[in-house]
Amino acid sequence: MVAVKFIPQILAWIGIVLVLLRGFPGRRSLVTAASIAGFTLGVAGTVILFRSFSGTTPFGVIKSALGVNFLVLWGFAVTVLYRSSGQGMTNWWEKFFGSSLCAGGGALLAGVMAGAVSACRFPGADATAVALLLLVLVAGVLALEALAVENMLPASLTVTPAGLLSIVVSLLLLSASSLLRLDLFSPLSMKVMKGIHDFVHQFMESILVPDHLFVRSVVWKYIGFLFGKEVGFWGGIIIWFTPALLITLAVGSQRLPSVAHIRQGAQRRKLLSDALRSRRLQMVMPLCSLAVFAAAAYQSSFPSVEYWDPKPVAVTANQSGEIFIPKQGEIDLLDGKLHKYLFKQGGREVRFFVLQNPAGQLTVDLDACAICKPDGYGQAEGSVICYYCKTLIPLETVGKPGGCNPVPVHFTEKADGVAIDSVTLINSWDTTVKVTARGKEGGK
């Protein structure tokens, strides 16, 4: 069963080694050895990280490293596109890409990242020395298998340095997207949504556009579209795919060789035809990386994890405006699970939940945060997840305000239950959540 969970990591690892071998054809032994060494280092480094830091820090470090990889890919893509447009630049980097240092270093780094992501797959206590050793062993065997398979690929299938980087990074991100805590696409979409929201708001303020009360509702709906989740998703998609697209475009727009000095038409046509064929083959890897990026985005958007998400139970307030929820009864508030409630008053609706955190303290929170559209939370192992932006919030921090944490609500803990002031609850929802829902889809 554990092996099944490793399928994305295994596939990504085989792909990475294959592409590295094809990218550095003259240095096959070096690439194989460096990638296996890198994988081992990555696994060992991750184990050290987990033993040195508690909580989400190790995941944060590895996720940041993946983010840096993606940024490097972006920079590289822009650079190759710039070069393809014929801007004069030195060829020092072409020499660098042909060197052993680049082949060995690149394979080592790719191995480290692949090893680190794979090691994160072991949940807590499963990370025994034997299991880790087995992981490294399997990775080594697969790398040697890839060495044999690479021989069978057609010789004409060449990889440009940019294409190589594109496919390696896409495979690493695919590998990471199967782990919620390492996934980059969902947080990226969330940041893009916030970024676009801020940008549109600032832009409209900058050019002194009248407020919505003066603007036709249909026009405002179009503007409101820019504040929605879909824009975050599609904006994230654009940022996600753009590096691979730019690299494909750069390969596709490479200048054909000058044939003006050749006086035989047939020779000219042959030279151009060869150049066009070579250019098309070089586009295969960036195009493949687009497919891998798509798979990673899909994996991120539809994670194969089930959450504890009970149907909200309707509650009412007494004459003094107090909502009382007993600790024991049909629902046991002290079972460590998230319990959702729905309070309705005068056409207003508030969703909230009660949860006992791992420290044994009860907390009452809105089923929404102050940033996202109020899609609510589900509970997974050791954390709750914001359905809107897929951010995982450790159970220890539920009840604390800020970021994408559920908005805490003031309550009184009594011996037999919790008491919540209905006005406080409604005001809390109105002042924080309604603002985030405005212009979006009106919530769940």
Binding site: V78, F199, L208, R216, R268
Partner: protein, 427 residues
């Protein structure tokens, strides 16, 4: 010194400058995003405060200004060569340049090129051929638009000032030096435009400071005293008389109520007392305009009187009317229209508007030209035993290259033994 200046000019006008600067700000944005959710606002604040960041941002308009100059110089050089006014040939002006050791007669070649749809100009030693329309004007407009956009952003970020004021009907337009004329009327009316559903007009009488009669609308906002008058929200200015059993002397207050749209609550505290009054505009009947009460002369205010946290009673009264209950009395002798207005001191807005116009014009020109009539040029110059042939295309490059190569074949075939000479490529 000249070499240093030339090198600096080359660096500043390089096409790499803008992506590098934008990339830097993008990385900075990502870095800030780790620490705050208000990333864009923080980045703007940093740029406003930091001379280094502002200077870095200023590189972009500077880069585009240099590129406009460089583009114009290049275009002039090409134009002069094709017009036969200059023989100042430079390979970087063309996509492809070839030298053949032949001395052809250009007459046959000219006929050939005319049959391919090219226009020609022939002299003894040169033959220029071209077809289509150049995208130079569109390119200049695009460069100018980008210059204006980033110059506008720079000016806006570094110099923008904003002061929120209440423009009240019947009172002087609030200005820092008190020089505003009296606001004669504020008119909110329904509009039939494609974008705006309502129009807002603020009529201001001539002021003692020499400002003439002015009428301020919504868009584009007008400049007054060096600042844009930017109407934001609607409200009411209320003259309130309040009497309570424990306040028999009563209390009078001019209240600013930011109470639109209807239903929105605006709270007023009676100083030195436990009383607080929460005002709102009643929701209009279904199907009628939500801002009807603002447009009409007779406005009704709903209120809720609180003592501490206890609601004593609720009620409503029209402008000029009053409400009394249990020894309390609330009177609204005067309710005037009010517009919450921002005074924006920001000339960057003008640049951004200009950028929008230039971008639209550039696309309007570029799109049909690029799609249907792209410029394609070739030039043959003969000097001694050498013929130099140059070619460039702004679109349809493959077909143009085919014609160019055939033309070269024709030139070479005119000689007994055409000898390949030097070949250079312009990047």
């Amino acid at each position: 010194m000249m070499r240093l200046l030339r090198a600096s000019a080359a660096v500043v006008s390089s096409r790499a400058v803008t992506p590098l600067v934008i990339g830097f700000f993008f990385l900075l944005y990502i870095g800030i995003a780790f620490f705050t959710d208000e990333t864009l606002i923080s980045l703007m604040a940093f740029t406003r405060r930091s001379v280094v960041l502002a200077a870095l941002l200023a590189l972009i308009p500077l880069n585009y200004a240099c590129r406009i100059v460089r583009g114009a110089v290049k275009q002039r050089a090409v134009h002069r060569i094709f017009a036969g006014k200059s023989a100042d040939y430079r390979s970087e002006l063309f996509d492809e340049t070839v030298e053949l050791c032949v001395t052809p007669s250009f007459r046959t070649l000219e006929m050939r090129l005319i049959s391919e749809g090219y226009k020609t100009r022939r002299s003894e030693a040169t033959l220029a051929a071209w077809r289509g329309i150049g995208i130079f004007p569109a390119r200049m407009l695009y460069l100018a638009a980008t210059f204006c956009l980033f110059a506008g952003i720079l000016v806006s970020i570094t110099t923008r000032t904003s002061h929120r004021q209440m423009v009240i009907e019947g009172e002087p337009l609030p200005m820092a030096d008190g020089s505003g004329g009296r606001v004669e009327r504020i008119i909110l009316a329904n509009a039939t435009g494609a974008i705006l559903s309502r129009t807002l007009t603020m009529e201001v009488a001539p002021s003692n400071a020499g400002h003439g009669k002015r009428i301020f609308g919504l868009y584009p906002p007008s400049l007054y005293g060096g600042a844009f008058v930017y109407p934001r929200y609607l409200g009411l200015a209320l003259l309130l008389h309040f009497y309570a059993p424990d306040m028999p002397a009563g209390y009078e207050k001019r209240c600013i109520l930011n109470c639109y749209p209807p239903g929105k609550e605006a709270s007023e505290v009676i100083p030195g007392s436990p009383y607080r009054i929460v005002f709102s505009i009643p929701e209009p009947a279904a199907g009628s305009d939500r801002y009807l009460s603002y447009m009409a002369e007779n406005r009704v205010l709903r209120f809720k009187l609180l003592k501490g946290n206890d609601v004593l009673f609720t009620g409503s009264a029209p402008g000029g009317g009053e409400f009394a209950q249990d020894g309390y009395r609330l009177a609204f002798p005067e309710i005037r229209r009010l517009v919450v207005t921002d005074y924006i001191g920001d000339y960057g807005v003008l640049f951004i508007w200009a950028a929008a116009l230039f971008f639209a014009a550039a696309v309007f020109i570029w799109l049909p030209i690029r799609a249907f009539w792209p410029r394609r040029e070739m030039l043959f110059m003969s000097a001694g035993d050498v013929t130099r042939a140059c070619s460039r295309a702004e679109g349809g490059a493959r077909r143009h290259a085919g014609v160019f190569h055939e033309a070269l074949d024709l030139v070479a075939a005119g000689q007994k033994q055409p000898e390949e000479a030097d070949k250079t490529l312009s990047l």
